[in-house]
């Protein structure tokens, strides 16, 4: 059984959420639906930071390293002097390293997101109910204490 509270205003929604936590409702049993990201919810529910950021960090560092190593290796493997620059010309490689940092960071974050969300099991993320512009608090198991 689920208890549900719907609000049209953000401040009413946040007030209710704070009161529920003060009343001792476990934050683990609370699910919220908002029409746009409301960061205050994370503070009130004291949500732990997602491990997704580590995927991003590892991906970005891997991309950076690969960007430099690949360009250096390619230049040394086929050494051609261009524009009088040294064979290993780091200022020019920064662009490729930067792009690969962003690319690897993005792609590995997406893979991490799929793994952490246990996707592609869409039933887990799809809610059959539609709340439009409303702010919704749902308490699982009907706990109202």
């Amino acid at each position: 059984m689920k208890n549900q509270y719907r609000f049209d205003e953000k401040h009413q929604f946040l007030e209710k959420l704070e009161n529920l936590i003060k009343d001792g409702v476990s934050s683990k049993k609370i699910i919220t639906y908002t029409p746009y990201p409301v960061h205050e919810v994370e503070h009130i529910l004291k949500v732990k930071a997602s491990p997704l950021r580590f995927f991003t960090l590892i991906g970005a560092l891997a991309g950076l390293l690969f960007g430099f190593l690949f360009t250096i290796w390619a230049s040394l493997d086929w050494p051609i002097i261009r524009g009088g620059k040294p064979i290993v010309a780091l200022p020019a490689f920064i662009i490729i390293a930067f792009e690969l940092t962003v690319l690897f960071g993005g792609v590995i974050s997406f893979i991490g997101y799929l793994l952490l969300s246990r996707l592609p099991d869409f039933s887990k993320i799809q809610n059959p109910e539609e709340y439009g512009n409303q702010f919704v608090i749902q308490i699982q198991d009907g706990e109202t204490r």
Partner: protein, 344 residues
Amino acid sequence: MNLSYRNLAIVSIVVIVIIGLIETVVKIGGDGNLLLLLSFWSALIQGPVAVAAAAEVSRGKWAQPMKRELLAFYPLILFVALLFLFISFQMDIYKWTEIQHRWLNKSFFISRNFVLLLLSFFVAHLFARASLQQKKSSQLVAVLYLFVFVISQSLIAVDWIMSLEYPWMSTMFPAIYFMESFYVGLAILALMAVVTLRQKLGNKVEVKKVMRDAALFMFGFALAWAGLYYGQFLVIWYGNIPWETSFFGIRMEYSPFKEMMTLIIVILFIVPFVGLISRKAKESIAVVSFVSILVLIGLLIERLFYILPVLPLNAFWLVIEFILMSAIFWLFFKNREQVLRIDK
């Protein structure tokens, strides 16, 4: 120290006269003192007003609780304009004065820069009044201020600094300049939020949000700054044209300039990027204060980096002038309610 509007004006005039005397009569050597002073403080003074204008244009509520603090510095643009007039006594610091051109000639140089600074002050005044009185025209005047701000800071870059090394030129130099001014404007916003929190003034939750948002913007601007700086370097490095590379050649080969360059990159990019990457850091008063102060120091080192290879500095008088400017800056912040009487 609480001062009335009239007393603030008197103190400002006294400081202008003292700096003027130092620059024209007392000081021995140190040709670059006034230029360093003006190029650094003009960024610090115009930047916060530009941040307020950008928030007004985008209808950003994030800067609303600290709008009065940001606008408190706008009269100092007039202060900078008046101080700039003393440059006319030091025009021999520019080598181009030996053979003058249509654009680079003494009288046009002084007049265009002075007029633009006056215009910048006038538009900032209009913007402050419209914004504080919540007039409908405030957005339009904010756009106008941003426009004048970009031109003014660009001209400071091109005329005051770039022409020191004529014929060296870089089309990205002015963009870096006004972007840096905005960057330090955000650092000042964060510092003012910290001071407000420490003095337990204003709504704590709202001011803390301002601090967090300023830190978030600083994080973004650190990246943007690095991108522009690297963009400028890469084009010159790749082109390898002697009269373009000489600028970086001197600064990357000889001490202390090469150390200064590393320091600038560390302070204006690496420290804000790494330091402000986490959410907790953006909400920490200690971290945000540290990074903000460091960004201001970074800007000073960067201005030194441009001027020091060309002009000698007199450290003693420079310190005196910086103390005077800091005092005026602090007085305007402290007496902002007097400064912003225009909304009544």
